[in-house]
Subunit: 316 residues, 4 copies
């Protein structure tokens, strides 16, 4: 096992990840002994994984898990999009994996059952509040405690980069009868296409993403295109029955139930005869990043899916 870092080479990992003090003596190294390991995790900034691979040779037998967004969109590469709730077989079989984004994971988990059931037939209102760790380690104006504490604001309205992967998944999952989802980062919606209207909020907490997804159903209540609340709840429970970390919550859940864990919670309610509100939530650093990466590693190596991820939520 090695942890590579140019800037921190020679220093204890626990000096940087200070919560590990007493847990490990691992040191950062500037070496990259790829021939001594089974898997490599890329934790570069977005866009740098591809560049790195051009300059470095990773042995064919070494699996790669990329936490950046470089390979999340299908293209001229063999990376599997690592959302275990829908791609478990492909993940188990793959050698190269693109780990989903944090917002993307949380929003998709709220929409997957509806997408597969062909119920996404109108524009989707997504409001998601993220903790400050979503903004990375580098200090800046909107992560300054004096500004962010007790504050609330929005950013990247309708233009967050995770829309790419969300739209890709929704389009792959929808039945032919359902409308296409327009990736509005690429083009204006064409006639008949629907959009994901995503507003990210900066929350005044450090960890977690709390998301609501609102959809409008078509047709008479009780018809196939407009199921009852009971049917919707069952749809979600069935969809996530075998998921290792994604659970349906009968009660309205709150964010701290997942913070500190690799879990996702989802909950669905119906209003006014045709509106569906889903709430979904994850810890952005775990299920939204390294936790899901470890979950994917477990699947790629035939390990127990929860190995190393039996974590205790910060709620008590």
């Amino acid at each position: 096992m090695f942890a590579n870092s140019e800037s921190n080479a020679g220093n204890p990992v626990a000096d940087v990840h200070e919560g590990l003090l007493g847990d490990t003596d691992l040191m950062f190294t500037d070496r990259m002994p790829f021939n001594e390991v089974d898997v490599v995790f890329f934790c570069f900034g977005h866009g740098k994984s591809e560049a790195f691979l051009k300059e470095h040779e990773i042995p064919a037998g070494v699996k790669i898990i990329d936490l950046a967004q470089d390979f999340r969109i299908r293209g001229n590469h063999d990376y599997v999009y690592g959302l275990p709730e829908i791609h478990k077989d492909a993940i188990q079989a793959c050698s190269h994996l693109a780990n989903p984004g944090c917002f993307a994971t949380c929003i998709q988990l709220g929409l997957l059952p509806l997408a597969q059931a062909g119920l996404l037939t109108d524009d989707i209102a997504v409001n998601a509040i993220t903790g400050s760790t979503g903004a990375g380690q580098k200090p800046g104006a909107t992560t300054h405690f004096s500004w962010r504490n007790d504050n609330m604001s929005v950013y990247k309205l309708f233009t967050h980069q995770h829309l790419h992967e969300i739209c890709q998944t929704l389009n792959e999952l929808r039945p032919q009868s359902a409308p296409a989802v327009c990736d509005t980062l690429n083009a204006l919606p064409a006639e008949g296409e629907i959009t994901v209207d995503f507003i990210p909020y900066r929350g005044d907490f450090a960890r977690g993403i709390f998301c609501t997804e609102v959809i409008r159903l078509r047709g008479a209540e009780g018809s196939a295109s407009n199921p009852t609340q009971e049917t919707l709840v069952q749809l979600f429970k069935d969809f996530y029955r075998d998921a290792a970390f994604t659970h349906y919550s009968d009660a309205a859940p709150d964010l701290k139930q997942v913070v500190g864990t690799n879990k996702a919670l989802v909950h669905v309610e119906k209003f006014n005869g045709n509106k569906v509100v889903v709430t979904s939530m994850i810890d952005n650093l775990l299920k939204g990043a390294v936790g899901q990466a470890v979950q994917n590693m477990n699947l790629m190596f035939g390990l127990e899916e929860k190995a190393g991820l039996n974590l205790k939520a910060i709620a008590f």
Copy 2:
């Protein structure tokens, strides 16, 4: 001046409102010398103002400002709904005033220019995050610090009681050509009616409401029913040009710009050719409650509208 309280009679006001220590020697009293004052503020729980008036006689010359929701909906009473941005003349002329709700104030200020312009032609997605002071003084599970800190959750989805007054205003303000707004607390929407799809969130801060309102425009961009972003911005600026406390912010505003003040900030952006996102924000205890009550008192008595309300925001 008197501050009536049965439970605190004989105690200094600053013992209860501890931020006033050193500012006032006023004591709570169980007396109600209505004949010695010009105006009475009712700060009862909802539903108790009407009961109180049946049991007590307020002299005809004494003005009443009710902070509860008892008289916010038009009916068999002479209370004016006290939203100065649209009802200034009526407020100046009235003796009895119903002070708007906190969410209701914030959401209406985001929607008023669009409503008057007839641009509310489809269901309105409203997401509003409130501080814990919105839940009142009485301690409970969702205001326990251990639970609420770093947490996020939703409540009263699509059923918050402020929908009544919001729908009343939107219907009064809309041109005949625009669709009616259904008060979904009373009935399911009829064909052709639109709804206010309001999701309240419990935020992990004490003061303030931060709100986004998303609407879908109809018709070709640039047409009367689908104005450009520039036109929308101008619409908001014109609408609030003379407002004492509501300002259009050219930059995306954040909540702490209004916390501690009677100000409201609004901001509008357009996306995907037909979606409009408004952000609106207030301090729920000031513009959302007692600040607006004082503003209304100033108008009712012909005082300077800002008297006593030149407050400094907590942002610096």
Copy 3:
């Protein structure tokens, strides 16, 4: 395994401890099948453990771990005070254990090496800031989010009930040459006795205790009674060398390094030739309560001391 609760009998444990949703199907029961278990944890309010034992028979072979303060002070009972850093042998041999208090654990861990070395020769200034979970689940004025958020205050100055167990330990550990520590809850200090001057603060966070302990050394610097900083650091490192969860931090530690774990961190610095400042910190719910209880259980049953306690800090 059973979780007894009169008020919650028949409900899932995860309904109350909501962070466990998806982790366990355990239900609360009103049964108390003591003959089916190896160990019982008492989680009563203080003072109720003793009363419970008078009314219920626990089989002789069943070990008891009491989280209340009923048996922490030596007396007419056989409970061992369960601070593994000093009482490991007794814990391993005992059947009945009194789990230390949260403040008491944090403060003692900061003082133990100095006490044993006979360096506590003058009054000890202790300032400890606790999260809101230290105040329990019942909502009240000082745990109301609206009050506690961004706030700071002190309580039980010089009179906190944990002084009893702190003084007991310091007196047991000190060499004969060092002055006695007066339990000021019982009596004023006599001539020659020293005191623990403990100020608890209510912090505006949910979990954790952060503590500073300041002592004044006697004699010339470098003498036995006034060791150098290097000697003091070595004293702490040696004292905790074999501790499973208490670590010396070379750098100044911060609270979030321990929150979410059973770890304690300690750090020592010297100033002005004769003042020693120790910082010590724990998660009050883990090392300060149930985590230490599990650690003690592991020791009592000959299990691996860290079993079930390999937790990840909330810091990243």
Copy 4:
């Protein structure tokens, strides 16, 4: 009136101090029209005021208020140390004023009555917790929200630069009979000197300083050197009787009673027959900086001392 800023020249002041949006149209300028104003506030970083004065001529009739620490220590200059609670006459008469530091203001207000009464006869334990705004606007590791939220830590133990001005005041105020206070930043304490043992804490809130000061009295309780609690309370009440912003609180105060105001609150209790605990608190940005600067300006110009400073606390 002008607000000079090289980097922001030409921009609205409300763009930087965003809480002022809607309150002022003032623009930053790179001009320095000293001959058009009555007073200049220096808001440079520490050490730059003196350098600025060497390069710029301020007309003799223009008063100067320096918020940096350049002139707080008596020396070869005519700046008056602007703590109105003790220097009111000198402030009213001066043209050049050095505004006290934030910690220095809070700690001195807790100690002044005791110092003047000659009761500071042993080392003083000072623990003060500050909000993140005390660390300035520039983002850094310890003001990153992800790090600071829910966290607690200490810094500059026993070595904070405000010790200079604190010790200067205490020495000027003490009667001849009381021991000298050693400025430990300059030298180790000599025989018979006492020290201010100051531990600053980084709090997880934005505004405010909450401080405890613990002193040990000498002699028999009730003697002149060891007054009763009643006498101590009266001492504080008398000392601050005429103070415009510093109030004695009969109840234990909390930080939010002063945040958002220019007020200071102090409270005193006695324990164990000879220990005195004072709590003192201010808003570091107001009474600890610009608020006190305005208060001083009011005094320097013969204005009402509270002019412009009738602010409402964030507590409600």
